[in-house]
Amino acid sequence: MDYLLLLLVFPLIGSLACLLNHKAAKQTAFISSLITLAYAVVLLTKFVPDASRQFVVDYPWISQFGIHFKAGIDGISMIMVLLTTGLIPLIILSSFKRTFNYSSALYALVLFMQFGLLIVFTALDGFLFYVGWEIALIPIYFICAIWGGADRIRVNMKFFIYTFAGSLFMLLGIIFLHLQTPGNSYDIGAFYALNLDAASQAWLFWCFFIAFAIKMPIFPFHTWQPDTYTTAPTMGTMLLAGIMLKMGIYGVIRWLIPIVPIGFMEWKELAIILSIIGIVYASIIAFKQKEIKRLVAYSSIAHVGLIAAGIFAWNAEGVQGAMIQMLNHGINVIGLFFAMDIIIDRLNTQDSSQMGGIAKVAPKFAIALLIIILGTVALPLTNGFIGEFLLLNAVYQYQIWFAAVAGLTIIFGAVYMLRMYKHVMQGELNELTSKFKDIKGSEILVMGIICTLIIIIGVYPKPILNISAAAVNTLIAQVNNKLAF
């Protein structure tokens, strides 16, 4: 029985169902995503947290090039599958109070994107990985460009061109690797087994790195990001920040470092430095932002920069920290963008200087936003803490000064997030904000789930760390073995 195949097929069916049932597309999409989530949880219960790949499906696809439809789940993929299947229902639920033109197409695209994302996170074949990578890109382009705000055509064209260019270089790398394999194969195992010379590894590193760095994004490949996040509809922003950028991080862990370890070692320092420049740069810009959605966008660059730095340090703490932080960042950033969406929708402005005192009229909203912000700034006992602690620890093991800069910047991050909270939620009410209505119905549900997750994971992160621990340790040992030769 191909358990995994069902997981991939559910979103596709859901997507079609949304198109057919366009009177209640919202509900159809929500139910479909819940079924997928339930199925992912079933898989989780059957999942044995060791280093092996489970639920593997393997069908010949394009025999001439030895391409297989091969997918499977190990601990690393499991976290990503949980992230994707868990966040999509929240994202759909968060849109329940909005009405969209052509909503059936919108929800169909969201679920189609989920299909692509799940392929990316489970693929064990280079060609399949690339195909999933692009399948995830097309729907998000249309979501952002059709339902987005002003200037969306230009902004999204830039976004598409950036990511498409990056992924084509990755395709070049994948085909080149395939040609080096002895048995005409695109299998990830065959890629891992290759022993390429240092020169090829060095340029292959860049083929993959550019694709992943654009997706994450790492400085200086980030310029598409703030504009795209700001003009996209909130659902699009959530999909981009919550899930899609993790494709890049996952790619680094699965497809970049283990395949070209020598190339990676050669450029390791540069990669970490770029990540840390990204943290500092994004934090400084975020500090200056008056537009709240943009502020969150830049703070997201900073947090992702830390995840990237932790991975590039390449030790067990770093990768484990990255795994759990990907999940947490997904939850927190969705919460933040949802809160920003509620504020912007009700006040009809982005400018934080026109706001104030919302906490007085909307206490529930104020508490929820506070918990999310505390999670984002990584206060102990919230979910952000364990991840950022592990990540900083990893960078510290690599280079104490890098850790100092990164760590101080993260603290600095707390300043601008809390300052934003102060400007928006506290202080005196004004004419605009006094009419602010507190959250209710589905909004409370979404906020409640997010806050609960933030606290539960913050207090007891061990089960999640356990899922990926064995897989991460094996992967690191594998790479170190290869480097030892």
Binding site: E134, I146, A165, L172, L179
Partner: protein
Amino acid sequence: MNSLIVISILAIVVLYLGLFKAKNAVLPVTIFGLVAALVLSIMEWNSGASPIYSGMMLFDNFAVAFSSLTIVSTILILLLSKNYFEKISENVAEYYTIILFALAGILVMVSYHNMAMLFVGLEIMSVSLYILAGIKKRDFASNEAALKYFLMGAFSTGFLLFGIALIYGASHSFDLDVIKQYVIDRPTGIDPMFYVGIVLMIVGLSFKIGAAPFHFWTPDVYEGSPTLITAFMSTVVKTAGFAAFLRLFSICFAPLAEDFWMPTLLVITILTLFIGNITALYQTNFKRMLAYSSISHAGYMLFAIVALGATSTNSVFVYAAAYSIASIIAFGVLILVKEQTGGENFDNFNGLGRKNPFLAFVLTISMLSLAGIPLTAGFIGKFFMFSTALAQYHIWLIVFAIINAVIGIFYYFKVIVAMYFKDTERKELTSTSYYKLVLSVSAIITIILGIYPSLITDLF
């Protein structure tokens, strides 16, 4: 061979149908005849053919595959012609006849085994096309197209013929096998005349496939000709040109690749890619954009000849199939848009997503396929080309190709942007059932080949 005979007879039958005023029978008879030819062609698959008529023709699998592809494309294009030619002229039968004659020439071009047959096939096709380009007798642009095409075409044929003559001078034969043997027998000391012959043949064939720097006729001819004829020229004719090119180089000149013609062709390929793409970027006219983009697609297809190897035939076949089908969709939608909005510019596509979601959707698939996005046949074509080129370590060529693929996104997405993100206050846009049939069949083929390309890639 049988399919060639059927098509030749069919052309004459259709001409007589026109003569006896049986206008309504023309299209059904043509389609029926072509389907019969297609079946006969496919039946010759794997028949282990050897050269026939004193080595003039060879109906091997290569010939069968490309004949079938060109016949299928022609059928799809002719299905779109219902009520199209009637608007241009009263003598509808002559269109079908000339197109069928062109197709007969094309079948010769993909199955020749002798340089003389290459020339004969090429000329049968070209002369038919000169007439087709100028068939709107009172239209200035059409006349210009025909004259340009004729002058340029005649020149290139001259080059080609001179090349053939020089090669004959060196090897004393027109037969492909003999020429191949001539090259193999002389690792050194091939007559210099032979090399000059190859260069002249490259020039002649590059004219026919519209590769830079011999591409100048393409945009004007494509724009001036009736749209359906343009569709025929940019799909069927281009496919045939590549098949002829590939057949010649893979059989005869393969051993000389590294030492001699590969660098030349590499330069032509890179020029073709960039010139086609960058010029396409600045077009506001959709038809002209397609013309320039067809130049850049010729560039991608040249990869297979530059990096001649085991997968070359397969790559050209897959790419040509994907490109032809996607182009047929694009031209088909263009015809409807032109008829009902009166223009061919990108602006005329504004709001199509709202006015006719079906047309907008199939055109989106076509554009995504031409741009090479996964799950469409166009991606598989590009993937095959990239693989073929990388197998010969042409890494820089692929880097150029990537830059061009990214440029391509700009102009293909212009249409998508116009259709979905821009509004217009025009009325509904309707399409007939024939169009719906052809467009949806083409779109489905595009997606099926994109998801499961093994259907056609395992052939060779």
